[in-house]
Amino acid sequence: MELLIWLIPLLPFIGFLLNVFVIRRERTAGLVASGMVAAAFVVTLIAVGVLASMPPEERRIVSTAWEWINTGSFQVPFAIMFDPLTAVMALLITGVGALIHVYSIGYMHGDPRVVRYFAYLNLFVTMMLFLVMANNLLLLFLGWEGVGLCSFLLIGFWFERKTAGEAAVKAFVVNRIGDAAFILAMLAIFTYFGTLNFYSEGEGGALGFLERVGDIAGLRVGPNWQPIFVSTAISFLLLIGATGKSAQFPLFVWLPDAMAGPTPVSALIHAATMVTGGVYLMARTEPLFVASFTTQGWVTWIGALTALMAGTAAMAQWDIKRVLAYSTVSQLGFMVAACGMGAYVAAIFHLLTHGIFKALLFLAAGSVIHGTHDTQDMRRMGGLKDAMPVTFRTYLIGALALAGIFPLAGFWSKDEILAHAVGHGHTPIFIILFITSLFTAFYMGRQVALIFFGTQRDPSYHPHESPQVMTVPLIVLAVGAIIGGAINLPVLHWLTDWLEPVLHEQAGEFNLWLALIATIGAVGMGYLGWWIYTTNAAKIKIGGKDPIYRYSGDIWEGMAEAWYLDRLYQRTVVAGFERLSDFLARVFDPQGVDGLVMGVGRFFGGLANSLRAVQTGYVRTYALVFTVGVLLVIGFMLWIAR
């Protein structure tokens, strides 16, 4: 059994190694990569079966490969585990991941670097599996960083497009901010618990920190005038880490830009893997979060605010993929808010269903882009439903699921979150989330209308349906999007029971009135979106304004720019940073080479070289700085320190 769970991450890793070192042909690369992930899915299924046969309290398999760090008090094993929470995550990753791999065979056909593409993709899946299967924070961090690295490589995969490289760097750097907080959280956890293990390793082993959260109850840290609870400090640092990875406010700016990668990559990053990492982390370290009332408040509000901001932003996008990107951010906000309210099962439930139907939407969008010869602007589409029947039908199913229409998957999971908000008295949060869900229905109606209805506004291309290798995964996912909600139906609540050993949660009450109102609202708003953009289809011009622009004006622009958050960073953080670095280069390093952070060219290099005769003047400068340092050090030690 231990061998079995090691197979899950190792199979894609073998695929990665084969693709890097052995395979040179496009066809074999795609087959091997897909086959490995599919095999991993099968293995996961078997492992789940084994897990289900065990008594609920003992459902955790831990396997240590070797002692990773082993010095005195500092011990971290290189160990993975398999428990109910990991199981559902692994199922999602390998299942949806395998479909995306298959789809990629068609989508990436003919690309000159396709072998490298599949190598990256396999590595991505491997790292994500390590993330969810790690039994300690350090290994989780390995997966965490690995996923960030692979996303960087994949977003920048089409580096010929100028935006791709920049988007890749942006994603990595924003993620690094979250990672910094993660490292600090690890340091703090290690200091207070002396271990980074989540749970004890088998019988009689030392307890993991999640089992000993009580140890830090009431402990405070920080300056005397404002001490804070240790539990708050740690969970808040973890929250910052999660906001980076799961694209929450204020760090969600990288995700819409990350659309520069190939569309299957977007599906993988947005639906099945990377962005779910933050939510998974919060669910996994749930005891720490629950221990801090303060952090939970922050989590809830960050989630709700993100949901609303991104939901409104999604309404005003023209790029087919950016709509979905903001929609992802918005739905992640739902999950995070659910975590904050303590509804971890609902969050994971929504994560799973969202993973399925968002993958479906992205892949279908990829099919649209593929069939329209790389058109992404929805103003240049229209009337594609006849040319691309399969894509249209599957897209519609995905859109309905996302809008939360009965009885599709999205309805059940979203309803559970809303019901929890009402049932536990989070009224403001409920209102925000409910409005957001109405917006969700609206922009999906708008998108379906713009892409598939009306007439084709740009006659320069001939749309065609995608090959079967792409449509079959779409159909499979569409089936999933229809019946996915079944895993946690209100009466049966299988998922709640399955996750009970990890999350210790009771099933929530099903709120019939709420479900009714939500469905009616979603249907109404979806229809409204569809109606506005089909009746006004004639007014939509390529490069023109939105029909609603007449009524909303500047607000529409704010939405289109995601409330200027990105621009704010550009003007403040990035500009300040550039100026500082420029200043350092100019003042402290007069021979320094370049003031432009992202600049290219050898101009400055050549200039600097011509300046580099033997110039003692610079030595004088150096000696002066040196002397200042000397005076400071001596002055401090002789006068200030005593």
């Binding site: 002397t627 005076l631 001596i634 002789l638």
Partner: protein, 216 residues
């Protein structure tokens, strides 16, 4: 006796101060260097007065013998040597003054705040003065400071190799440095004739093949 010492000290001290003042005030750099030598001699005399004969000899050997010669060489190899009419003080001399004063104050501070020097107790009569004569120093080198002595040997070997590597070998590959006479000659020529006289150029690099083993 005591008075004689005091008077001698006064004479030497005045001499040192005058010499030092001259070093920083004369316009001709070479003269400044010569005054510096005089200053070093004065310090040597001061050591003599303190009955530190060895130190006095070393002072003359190292400072008068080596350091000053080095400085004179440096001056001669520098262009615009004579320095006639070149201002000695930079425009920002107050800054320099401030820094110098501060550093001097740092040195003087311990004495002024009445630091108790950790002077070893006076030895019983008849034993040689500690660290006074060369004999004691020699003994120290093979006894207490044996490892230091050895390492200094290695250090000097390294320095010597370095000097050889940089200065001697493949001299031809280095840029040609004009001697003082050559440079003056060149200057004179340039002033007399038209400005077409070529400026000093770098020597052609000698190709690898010309380095025969016999050269070594």
């Amino acid at each position: 006796m005591e008075v004689v010492v005091q008077i001698t000290f006064g004479v030497i001290a005045v001499f040192i101060l005058v010499a030092a003042a001259m070093v920083v005030s004369v316009r001709n750099v070479i003269h400044a260097a010569l005054w510096l030598i005089a200053c070093f001699f004065g310090v040597g005399a001061l050591y003599m007065l303190l009955e530190a004969e060895f130190l006095a000899v070393v002072q003359v050997l190292i400072y008068v013998g080596a350091v000053s010669v080095l400085i004179l060489f440096a001056i001669m190899l520098t262009r615009q040597i004579t320095g006639e009419g070149v201002r000695q003080l930079t425009n920002r001399w107050p800054v320099v003054l401030a820094i110098a004063t501060l550093l001097f104050a740092t040195v003087l501070a311990p004495t002024l705040i009445n630091q108790q020097w950790n002077v070893p107790p006076a030895p019983p009569l008849g034993t040689p003065e500690p660290i006074a004569g060369p004999a004691e120093l020699g003994r120290g080198f093979v006894n207490e400071f044996l490892i230091q002595f050895q390492v200094v040997g290695v250090l000097l070997t390294v320095a010597l190799i370095g000097a050889i590597v940089i200065a001697y070998e493949e001299r031809a590959r280095r840029r040609k440095v004009l001697t003082l006479a050559e440079e003056l000659e060149l200057k004179r020529l340039r002033e007399q004739t038209s400005p077409t006289v070529p400026a000093p150029v770098e020597a052609e690099p000698v190709v690898q093949e010309s380095r025969s083993a016999s050269e070594r």
